[in-house]
Symmetry: C2
Subunit: 329 residues, 2 copies
């Protein structure tokens, strides 16, 4: 796979995060399930914004965070996602490009750029309330075939897999990648998301996903099992690689009959868990496309995830390449 | 002064800060003087934004930061400042209101909300590049006479003292405050700002400022002297109170013939000095309007300033009232 311009191209929702603090009571009063992402309409996002405390704005979006993380590690990344021609869109575009990620999707001149009201509780857990605006309107025409063929891996964000057009765009991306002998990676994103589209996710995985990323609740939801170990049995032969993250328990990498357990990186204080999974995927994919052993890929994932949860926001505050070098990774 | 609804009403530029990191070379290459604020036009702000790295957005504005700090300490604050009816204006309005500050200035439906590109160097020093947009268009009609008469102190931000309309608005505010037997406070904001308007600042001070806030470079610029001690001699009888901040050297409060030296609050690591002066003023004015002794006012100022420089952005991350209580203030 040496003849590629990019290590990874990510396809996902282009979102600006609006991050504030709250307590558990506030979440309950506003019908938000702690630790999850829910989609909200424009009216709800406005009333919730009015009710929440002071906030800060930081570019986000799951796959976009992953691509920014890969660039911070020294990898070559590109992103495909839909913004509107508005101020939040300008912020999103600036932040991802200045992080070193190629981003050429044309902004829409209708609707608005997606925003996610992220409420962080004192335990560092994040609960997301996302108004998608124009983000889901990404369609097949925006899946740049040359870009995908020029990338070692195409990384698909499960959150985007919702509208028929986006699903078609994903299938198109898989087809192009397969045709160019590239790898396809998918992240399941969220257990509720898996629950809404289980059959189609399973189809997509069977139809060409080489690398599956999921956390415990997502993978148990995918296979409708109660225990993680049961999910592991199903996931083992579903794809070439299944990478299962387990928060404070670290992660498990399944490759054929091999199962590699990776310890989590210690964190002095968990400030905000937003982006933990995204940055784990960044470290893992950076390692994989750089030809590192699977265990090193997992350790890079743990390291990048640990950096992101030690501060507010899902974009790294330190240069991850330096951090990795300091650990000999 | 018990018959007041607000402790302090601030008048200043309504700004959203766009904060990123850079090194000293980047500042030099882009003609920015480290540690200062410069006004830039729309073209410059756009090209600088393009050149700078990933950023985060946090509401700012000097007097607005001070009012948010007073509210966080448990005081009653209001703010008068001009935003546009755009996304950054929505962010500014949300953040200041949800911080507990009354803010009723009508957004303009022309131009754009002010933004300041704040470049933070590895030593924690901030350099500001401000595009004011609609902010300076605050005029006399927006100086709410009832609000000023209902506040113990009106706090004027030197940065805003630039256009003729804003200067007239300041003089109007002083007149209303004096008529209602309220106190007038002024912050000089920046040495370059003092240099541009020295004579008028001196007139304003003579004409009714009771409490003057300045740092070392501002007060030496105001009196065109080289040494801080010489500036102290001039400032001593200029107003009822002169509050002079000296960064790591703490602060000096001049009241008649008394001079009270206040030690700085220790800070483990200076992350970003943005808002240090603003939050010092918040602590001081909160203490003063709550009837505390001057030394306690200064210690509250040091404490609030120490909190703000320990993290990115000029809005406090912890509830300052709790922090003050934990120190017995």
């Amino acid at each position: 796979m040496a003849d590629t311009t990019y290590d990874v191209v990510g396809i996902g929702n282009a979102i600006v995060d609006i991050i504030g603090r709250c307590n558990d009571t506030f979440l309950a009063e506003h019908g938000a399930t702690k630790g999850h992402m829910r989609l909200v309409d424009e009216e709800t996002v406005e009333s919730l914004y009015k009710a929440m405390g002071p906030a800060i704005e930081i570019s986000g979006g799951s796959a976009a965070n992953t691509m920014a993380g890969i660039a911070s590690l020294g990898g070559k990344a590109a992103f495909i996602g839909k913004i509107a021609d508005d101020e939040l869109g300008t912020i999103f575009g600036h932040d991802i490009r200045s992080a070193g990620v190629a981003f050429e999707t044309i902004p829409a001149n209708s609707k608005s750029t997606a925003r996610s009201l992220i409420l962080v509780t004192p335990d560092g857990e994040r609960t997301m309330n996302t108004f998608l605006g124009v983000a889901p309107e990404l369609d097949q025409r925006e899946i740049d075939a040359d870009l995908i063929a020029a990338s070692q891996v195409v990384y698909l964000e499960g959150y985007l897999f919702d509208r028929a057009e986006a699903k078609a765009a994903f299938r198109q991306a898989v087809k192009i990648a397969k045709g160019a002998s590239r790898k396809v990676a998918l992240t399941l994103s969220d257990a509720f998301c898996v629950d809404r589209h289980r059959a189609e996710f399973l189809d997509l995985i069977r139809g060409g996903v080489d690398i599956l990323f999921a956390n415990e609740s997502e993978v148990t939801s995918l296979y409708r099992v109660g225990a993680f170990d049961d999910a592991v049995r199903h996931a083992r032969n579903a794809c070439e690689l299944a990478v299962l993250t387990r928060s404070a328990k670290g992660s498990l990498i399944l490759s054929g009959e091999k199962a590699i357990t990776v310890a989590p990186e210690p964190v002095a204080r968990v400030v905000d868990t937003t982006g933990a999974g995204d940055l784990y995927a960044a470290g893992f994919l950076y390692g994989l496309t750089a030809g590192k052993p699977l265990e090193t890929c997992g350790r890079l994932g743990s390291l990048a995830a640990a950096e992101i949860i030690s501060h507010i926001g899902a974009r790294s505050e330190t240069q991850l390449a330096k951090l990795a070098a300091s650990r000999g990774l």
